[in-house]
């Protein structure tokens, strides 16, 4: 019964979304506050309906109600509770339901922040948001209904894909979706501005926190996915340039550009048309990512079920929204008043360069991801575009951007002085070059990329923090006064510095992978495998039986330079219901590095295959991402954003002061 109610609530949400789409749009056109006020009310109602529907499905999972097809196919009564909950979105139908739930959640939050958003803008924004909700609700109800029943009801379920039976499933998809779907708000605001034909710094100030929030969540979601793949797949890799990963990287790159361009718009009332376009493109890339992952054009752990009908439907949504919004852009953008131009050497000039590089890098990822699909459709040739392509095209575009980053962050608004800026960074340059040379000397004969990359990372970290130091301390200032001053700096300054330092930490982590060591061998009990300074000894192989799987666990003692430093266990599991084997890597964390071992097949002579890695500083890759997201979060708490924008746009200066 609850399941049917959930289904009904979903259909009700569709009807309410239609109201949320049509009435406010008309109201904004007719300038009727009563009609416009329908927008927030209906947005809240849509959210309530979808939330109920989601809870109904969760209820079916918790009760192992196998008369629901979706539960039968993806759950099992012996599955631990956490995977019963996270299993709700560990399948196609449920994950689409989570998608619209988050879409509706964002709509609801826009609805309750009515005091800080002008009414017309809010009405138009929620109408556009409703259009997206309608499309995805139709998609769920017609092609991916999670509430379909099975008659007769099976006694036991088919269990969740074992690779997904991991705490990662509870965290990664929600974080990623909040990021992906969060950009729908920037998109809706951009379309609303185009419908209204008016855009100004107030718009940028309203949109920026949404974009920043979505960006921070997307950063966390991608990092979490990367770490999950790293420990779960047992190959020791953390990024494979797999199309599914690229599908999340593209909106991240565009979103990063958007976060920066809205700053320019807010502070200098410039880059308006570009910012609007970028907001549209960012969400379009999110939609494209959803299409790539969910349609089955790519086969991966993310494409739960391949069904051509679904692919066609999402492609339709994709074309409708990308085509529609770009057409709207082409029609209305020329009417937007252009902002002022500005000096090339200035903070805003640097941010333009940032946008240029990020957008171009995003384009190369786009080409590398979609070219194989296009080629196959056109010529039938099957190709794979892998890491070599992306390393060759992406890195040369990102490295110059990173080199310019601390300079850009130090430049003044309006008119910067390049030499003066460089002087403020002398110490940073010096220390980074010194660090590179010292590392190079110590690792002489090793890969050159590692010291160079770490040098770049150190430069980024110091360059970002230098901004805080030079703004709060000068020669002769007592430290206590400097600390007070630093604490008084705007939160956005701290957020920027932290986020950029996070980039540096990630760069250090990535560069240090060049020092990684890999060894492989077949071990009998008591035998050893050596990789660099590290060594493991196979102690024993223990068979175990758990609730929904059985496993053989290899216990390894880890030695560094001959001294015992710990033990790790790596398992070969067999999930009984699906008859599917998985490998669980054993990981020993030493400082920021990790010793990583995974078990292979048992050999006829009684030995087992063991692959051993040592990965120095590898944790910095994800710590850096975390710091980036925290930086974004701190920026969000900036006073300027908390207090909200002054309401009527009329009081804004009518023309931007030209930057001369």
């Amino acid at each position: 019964m609850i399941v049917e109610a959930g289904h009904f609530a979903l259909a009700l949400a569709l009807g309410l979304s239609l109201i949320q789409f049509l009435v406010p749009l008309w109201g904004a056109r007719a300038n009727d506050p009563v009609l416009m006020a329908v927008a927030p009310a209906s947005a809240l109602a849509v959210f309530a309906c979808i939330a109920f529907s989601f809870l109904a499905l969760t209820f079916a999972y918790l009760n192992s109600d196998f008369s629901v097809l979706n539960v039968f196919q993806n759950s099992h009564s012996a599955k631990p509770l956490i995977y019963k909950i996270s299993g709700v979105w560990g399948n196609h139908e449920g994950s689409m339901l989570l998608w619209v739930l988050i879409l509706a959640l964002f709509g609801a939050v826009v609805a309750i922040s009515r005091n800080s958003i002008p009414m017309r803008l809010q009405a138009n924004t929620l109408a556009v948001q409703a259009a997206v909700t309608i499309a995805f609700l139709l998609f769920i109800l017609t092609t991916s209904n999670p509430f379909t029943r099975v008659v007769p009801a099976p006694l036991e379920g088919q269990d969740l894909n074992p690779l997904l039976q991991d705490p990662g499933l509870a965290i990664h998809p929600p974080l990623l979706y909040i990021g992906y779907v969060g950009f729908s708000i920037s998109f809706a605001f951009a379309c609303a501005a185009l419908i209204d034909g008016r855009i100004d710094a107030v718009w940028a100030r309203i949109v920026r926190p949404w974009t920043l929030g979505a960006w921070a969540f997307l950063t966390l979601g991608i990092a979490m996915g990367s770490y999950w793949a790293y420990y779960e797949l047992g190959w020791g890799g953390w990024w494979f340039w797999d199309p599914v990963e690229n599908a999340s990287l593209m909106p991240w790159l565009a979103g990063t550009a958007l976060v920066h361009s809205t700053v320019v718009m807010e502070k200098r009332d410039a880059l308006k048309v570009w910012t609007i376009l970028l907001a549209i493109l960012t969400f379009s890339l999110s939609l494209l990512g959803t299409f790539l992952v969910r349609s089955g054009v790519l086969t991966s752990v993310h494409s739960f079920a391949v069904d051509p009908e679904r692919g066609t439907f999402i492609l339709g949504i994709l074309i409708l929204f990308i085509g529609g919004s770009l057409a709207l852009f082409a029609w209305r953008a020329p009417m937007l008043r252009q902002g002022g131009l500005f000096a090339p050497v200035s903070r805003e000039g640097a941010l333009v360069v940032n946008n240029l590089f990020l957008a171009t890098a995003c384009a190369t990822v786009f080409i590398g991801t979609l070219y194989p699909l296009a080629l196959e459709v056109m010529t039938g040739d099957k190709i794979s575009v892998g890491a070599p392509f992306f390393n060759f095209t992406f890195l040369p575009l990102i490295v110059p951007l990173l080199l310019l980053l601390p300079l850009g962050q130090t430049l003044a608004w309006k008119r910067g002085n390049f030499l003066g800026t460089a002087q403020r960074l002398y110490a940073v340059f010096g220390i980074s070059i010194l660090a590179t040379m010292v590392l190079f000397a110590f690792s002489y004969g090793g890969p050159v990329a590692a010291p160079l990359g770490i040098g770049l990372g150190v430069y980024l970290v110091l360059g970002s923090l230098n901004e805080i130091v030079t703004r709060s301390w000068s020669k002769g200032t007592p430290l206590s006064a400097a600390w007070r001053k630093a604490r008084g700096l705007p939160r956005s300054a701290w957020g920027t510095a932290l986020a950029h330092a996070g980039v540096g930490l990630t760069v250090i982590g990535i560069a240090a992978t060049a020092w990684g060591i890999e060894a492989i061998g077949s071990l009998k009990v008591g035998e050893r495998l050596k990789g660099g300074d590290y060594e493991v000894r196979l102690e024993r192989v223990i068979p175990r039986v758990e609730a929904n799987y059985r496993e053989d666990a290899a216990v390894l003692t880890v030695f560094r330079s001959g001294h015992e430093i710990g033990t790790i266990e790596t398992m070969k599991r067999l999930y009984v219901t699906r008859g599917m084997p998985t490998t669980e890597a054993g990981i020993l964390t030493i400082g920021l590095g990790q010793v990583y071992a995974s078990i292979g097949d048992a050999q006829p002579d009684g030995s087992v295959g063991i692959r051993l890695y040592h990965k120095p500083l590898v944790l910095l890759i994800w710590i850096g991402s975390l710091v980036m997201a925290i930086g974004g979060g701190i920026s969000l708490t900036d006073r300027r954003l908390r207090i909200g924008a002054p309401a009527p746009a009329k009081t804004m200066p009518s023309a931007a002061v030209p930057a001369e």
């Binding site: 797949l233 086969t299 384009a363 590398g368 892998g386 095209t393 492989i520 008859g579």
Partner: protein, 152 residues
């Protein structure tokens, strides 16, 4: 600088970056892209030894041999041809005889292939799409058993 000069500077810089990116992409397209081939394709297209390719097909029953230190050889076949594959490393969990596989590496001779990665399947139903397509084309596709009961 006048307004016009500024605009030109911006367009110039953007043009340069885009041109560099385009150059990189075109160069990489020639150099880093790996074609997918079935054993029959390799003979039909007479792929040159030394070429980096992705090889896909079925693992021949009874062909997997394990040597010392995780040296593994197996044969990949389709309806028309068979190629011997050498690989050192751990095989993915779902690697099985008689099942589909995709290996990436260097073609050493028309009948021998050295793989540096053997791609994993993500679940037991998953047949690499390229392999499935090839088999369908050759008329050897039986389809996957539909495990789910009829829905109402």
């Amino acid at each position: 600088m006048t307004r016009k000069q500024r605009r030109l500077t911006l367009i110039g810089v953007a043009g340069c970056v885009l041109a560099v990116a385009l150059g990189l992409v075109l160069y990489a397209m020639n150099d880093t892209i790996v074609f997918f081939n079935s054993p029959a394709d390799i003979q039909a297209k007479s792929v040159q030894p030394g070429t980096r390719i992705r090889l896909g097909g079925l693992v021949k029953e009874g062909s997997v041999q394990r040597g010392a230190d995780q040296q593994i050889t197996f044969e990949v076949m389709d309806a028309e041809a068979t190629i011997k594959v050498n690989y050192k490393g751990l095989l993915p969990d779902l690697f099985r005889e008689g099942q589909g596989v995709v290996a990436e590496g260097i073609l050493e001779s028309p009948s021998a292939f050295r793989a540096d990665s053997v791609l994993a399947k993500h679940d037991e139903n998953y047949m690499p799409r390229e392999v499935a397509d090839t088999l369908k084309k050759q008329g050897h596709w039986q389809g996957e058993a539909d495990a789910s009961p009829k829905t109402q």
